[in-house]
């Protein structure tokens, strides 16, 4: 009965209800849509960066991430690879041996990042083969390199030429080698293009004097959710005294920081928006309370206790809010879904910027469930708090006074 009364009371002043619900609708819709796009765009950036090179989960010898040195390598055993591959989210374990080297050709010298890879696995993880713009991709037994286009240009070197690599190997031994260039790689990001050199893992181990060793193992998982689950299991699976498990969040702190900053500025905007809506709802609640004094007086006279009456008015206010939320969800859920499955393809200048950083030039939404229910909770809280006002009025109401007005 209380629910029925609350529901019917909402429709007593249809126009006011519709205006209030519409204002809530706009706030909810706008908040969801904006958040969804923003998160979608960041998800896209993060996903690209992660999939592009880092992977969602990496395992190293303890301390490597802090101080990335060849001395912090570990022996690549089947046992280790197997236990890293044991969570069912991990589809593949990809080994790498990474370090810095000087690359020279003729009189030109550049600093490079040399990465020893298992060509087949690496391609599954980062689709490296698809980035070969000239020449061919590596085979496991090759004694050849792939270099970024930017680096090739700076060294004035081309396909089939010989690149000289000089570095300090494992435990400080001298490392030097000559490799012919089997392919050039096209990276979106200039940072990668200007410094990447790929070698087959075996050759790389030989070059650095690190037989059978690796600096990192990358777990190939579907997404951030799978990564979180896998990490939880890996924490028990691996000897965490000897190895460190690094999650994607730790690999891209700058990007996440940027995202935080953007998020907080849009949060302020949403706060303001909700503040306005709150005043709107409060106006409605205020009018409603005033109009209904007499009725409240009658109800307490005939024996309805105050807390029940306050509760029914609370429900009414919350109903009003949820009505707006429902409308908001009704429109924003399908719309965000649509853009999630049909991202907007960016063109023109913006697309170039995206591509420059090796990011898919598309704007898509996020459909994380929390985007939706957060708004419902926010409105619920606002209306609940606002309903305290009539509730207090009712708790202090004297029937005689209420009915005289």
């Amino acid at each position: 009965m209380l629910l029925k009364i609350a529901w019917r009371n909402i429709w007593r002043n249809r126009r006011r209800t519709l205006i209030t619900a519409t204002s809530i609708f706009f706030a909810v819709f706008f908040a969801i849509f904006m958040n969804s796009f923003q998160r979608g765009v960041w998800d896209n950036v993060i996903n690209n960066v992660i999939r592009f090179y880092f992977g969602f989960v990496q395992v190293h010898q303890k301390g490597y991430w802090e101080e990335q040195s060849l001395d912090k390598t570990f022996v690549l055993t089947d046992e280790l690879v197997n236990s890293m591959g044991s969570p069912k989210q991990v589809q593949l374990v990809v080994p790498r041996l990474e370090s810095f080297a000087l690359a020279s050709h003729g009189t030109l010298t550049r600093g490079t990042l040399v990465v020893g890879i298992d060509p087949e696995k690496e391609d599954k993880l980062t689709t490296l083969a698809s980035r070969v713009s000239q020449g061919e991709y590596l085979q496991a037994e090759d004694k050849a390199v792939l270099v970024g286009e930017g680096l090739a240009e700076r060294l004035k070197i081309g396909l089939g030429d010989t690149l000289v690599l000089i570095s300090q190997g494992y435990h400080g031994i001298n490392a030097a080698g000559k490799y012919h260039i089997k392919g050039l790689l096209n990276f979106g990001s200039p940072e990668l293009s200007n410094q990447m050199v790929y070698l087959p893992l075996k050759e790389c181990q030989w070059f650095f004097g690190a037989e059978n060793m690796a600096t990192s193992l990358v777990a190939h998982v579907d997404d951030k959710f799978a990564a979180a689950k896998a990490i939880r299991q890996l924490n028990t699976e691996l000897d965490t005294a000897a190895y460190e498990i690094i999650a994607w969040q730790q690999m891209i702190p700058e990007i996440l920081e940027m995202k935080e900053m953007k998020d907080s500025s849009s949060k302020i905007m949403l706060w303001v928006l909700y503040l306005i809506v709150t005043f709107g709802i409060f106006g409605t609640v205020l009018m409603m309370t005033k109009e209904r004094q007499y009725e409240f007086g009658i109800l307490t006279s005939i024996g309805m206790n105050r807390s029940k009456l306050a509760f029914s008015v609370w429900i009414e206010t919350v109903f009003l809010g949820l009505l707006g939320v429902l409308l908001g969800l009704l429109v924003s859920v399908p719309l965000t879904m649509y853009f999630y499955y049909n991202p907007i393809i960016v063109t023109g200048e913006l697309a170039e910027i995206y591509e420059k950083f090796g990011i898919e030039p598309s704007l898509s939404t996020s459909i994380d469930p929390d985007l939706y229910y957060t708004q419902a909770i926010v409105v619920f809280v606002i209306t609940s708090v606002l309903a305290i006002y009539p509730a207090l009025k009712i708790l202090r109401l004297k029937p005689v006074d209420a009915m005289r007005s």
Partner: protein
Amino acid sequence: MKNVISVSGITKTYNPKTIPVHALQGVDLEIEQGEFTALVGPSGSGKTTLLNIIGGLDEATEGTVIINDQDITKLSDGQLIQFRKEHIGFVFQAYNLIPVLTAKENVEFVMLLQGRSQAERNKRVNELMAAVGLSDKMNNRPSQLSGGQQQRVAVARALAPKPTFILADEPTANLDSKSTANLLDMMAELNKQENITFVFSTHDQRVIDRARRVVTLEDGKIVSDDHRDV
């Protein structure tokens, strides 16, 4: 006969600290089960004030109000609400009904608050709506009823929880003469058939003529108290 209402030494002073208004100045009144009493007197004589105090809607400045052997001036606010729900039926001058509920639901409402069963409620609602002659208006909202019909539904609602008595403050003030006669017939009928106690205030001579007891107030004092046969 048993007293259902026993009021003694009631005074009521509004605004005691600023401009005091002595609305009641020592009222003693006893009302027995089954009486049909009109409270009359000029405007401002204190009729509403007295009814509100008897009904536990307002507090007396001095004096006691004993209803069914219970001194209600000693009850807390929450206990008073509970007491009203069980013992007193109210009919106000106008706008008695909850606008969003149908006639039937309005009558049912207090019983619902009392936690009566669906079957019991239905039976009682049908009974009462028949008694007030509105069986065919069960599902009308108050806005779809005439003023007289609304007042009759209000009487039905007041009777629903089987209260000890019914207080009605100028129940006919907003009604035309035909509706007034109708409502009075109905109240008198309920009083006779079911021995329901009514106390109502009025200005209307036609209503006064129907009362079996007429208590007259002037300046917050009872100046006459006549028992008559009608």
